[in-house]
Amino acid sequence: MKGKKWEKQDLEDMARLLRKDVLEMIMNVSDGHPGAAYSSADIITALYFGGILTVDPERPDWEDRDRFVLSKGHACPLLYAALMRKGFIPEEERFTLRKINSRLQGHPDMAKTPGIDATTGPLGNGLAMAVGMAWALKQQKKDSRVFVLTGDGELQEGVVWEALQAAAKYRLNNLVIIVDNNRRQSGGLIDEVSGIMSLREKFQAFRLETKEIDGHDFDDILGGLDWAVACNGPALLIAHTVKGKGIDFMEEDNSWHKRVPTAEEYASGLAQLGGAVL
């Protein structure tokens, strides 16, 4: 794959492969959050394979790398799959997910897993950590950028808005925030669990450059990321996504927030994702 110019079709194939990896990993350990991983799949694929993140699998701690913070840490099987396909983690390690003595913890662990830049999972914290990183990298006059992917349910956490205040105050133009706006959280539809979102208005009130994209269209994702990187201040993309995207019976069915497929569902899911050839 190295040196190859990635066309839209290649990215779609990679995203399908990563979804397949995740299905196999979750099935193997009988635990995980497929819905949340699948709504983020195309965004994470674009970051790692669409020429956005400057990272080096040979030097996971390279100090001049870009950072990626998966604030919605429960989607990490997808990130592990991306790191595996990128060469940070050996392929054979994937079935250690969530098992004893594994580097692939149930939520991302920066101290254990090569390529993980932040220990996340407790919702909201990742964004605040990313703000600290972006501030510190600017202070050190580095060109590195910090990308953070948050859930939309996660935005109910107060620490998110504390962090956004600071991002705006310091005009962190090396910070790109992507909201995986799948409109669902553990307990159901966000509209029903927590009430009004009005995300765009809130972000704009916090002085963030804000743009909405289709989180499953690579032209839109890459165009949005290019726009965000070029912004003169902290930029935020609201990515409209579908929870469970990629397997028809998971899409928009919130029971897949945390659920393990039956053997039949597994076979059907694999068949739907089977077209990935790289």
Partner: protein
């Protein structure tokens, strides 16, 4: 008794660090005035990240800063650093073992001035001590705090440093070192009774020791400025040689040094351990003297408890 601010001592310690290490960052949740750091902010504006009144984001941002190799020192009140931002400290800082230093002011009721319970750190040591990999320091005067700041920056990992109100009694000679993990004996008339203590109650403990010694009791007093990791090797002989031990601290009796000594004693050398501090209750507003008198951290109470323990 002469007082000197342990808060300002933190800023002085930061100045000392900046002379040799420019990777220092002061992280503030509108808390720079706590340590009277106005001059530091003016002298090193690029080394201060001010997030406004937002302890949780400040703690998590400190983790992010540390992940880039810089050395953040986050300052807040003990109660907010250890409780409002506790989860961020536990998950974002301590779990990945990041190099973040946390300074908590108003440690104890005596250091809470007249602010009252809401602004007094009464459980901070117990909470921070319970988090794996965290070093917990409680120096006992301004000179010691200045040295403790330098010492903690030498640790590659999370440290919690407890400080006071800004009107803190000077106890030690200026040239007394503060070494992490090294207890300091400051009184000895014998070994029937050992008193372990930390923080700003040392003057009361010394006065109690003088009274006890005058009445013929063999007592020694040891400052345990590093509450975690507890130097069991250095402390165990005191337990072995004594008939009973007392722990005196401005903290809830649950979770603090008293608990740490009980754990050590139970495991290594069973002895009666009498804990003097807040008896699992909240304090209130008042002067340190009034509060210590009402809640039992007085030389008289220490003497009484010591005599009971030796009966």
């Amino acid at each position: 008794m002469r007082t000197e601010s342990t808060r300002r001592a933190v800023t002085e310690g930061l100045y000392d660090i900046m002379e040799k290490d420019k990777s220092l960052v002061l992280v503030s949740s509108d808390s720079t005035l706590i340590i009277k750091a106005k001059d530091f902010m003016e002298d090193f504006p690029d080394h201060v990240m001010e997030l406004g009144i937002s302890e949780q984001a400040a703690m998590a941002a400190a983790a992010g800063i540390a992940s880039t190799g810089m050395k953040p020192v986050y300052v807040s009140y003990a109660v907010f650093a250890s409780q409002r931002a506790c989860e961020q400290f536990r998950n974002a800082v301590a779990y990945p073992g990041l190099n973040v230093k946390v300074v908590g002011a108003n440690g104890g009721m005596g250091s809470g001035e007249r602010e009252g319970v809401t602004h007094q750190g009464l459980e901070d040591i117990g909470i921070m001590r319970a988090i794996p990999g965290t070093t917990v320091l409680s120096p006992s005067d301004a000179g010691q705090v200045r040295k403790a700041v330098s010492a903690m920056m030498g640790i590659d990992g999370p440290v919690y440093l407890r400080i006071g109100s800004g009107k803190d009694p000077v106890f030690w000679e200026e040239d007394t070192p503060f070494e992490i993990g090294k207890p300091k004996e400051f009184f000895r008339s014998g070994e029937d009774l050992v008193i372990f203590t930390h923080g700003f109650v040392l003057p009361a403990v010394r006065e109690a020791c003088e009274k006890l010694a005058a009445s013929g009791v063999g007592v020694c007093a040891v400052e345990v400025g590093t509450i975690k990791p507890l130097n069991e090797k250095a402390l165990k002989p005191y337990l072995e040689n004594c008939r009973a031990s007392l722990v005196v601290e401005d903290h809830n009796v649950i979770g603090g040094l008293g608990s740490a000594v009980c754990e050590m004693s139970a495991a290594l050398c069973p002895r009666p351990v009498i804990r003097i501090g807040l008896q699992d209750r909240f304090s209130e507003s008042g002067t340190p003297e009034e509060l210590f008198a009402k809640y039992g951290i007085t030389p008289e109470n220490i003497v009484n408890k010591a005599q009971e323990a030796l009966k």
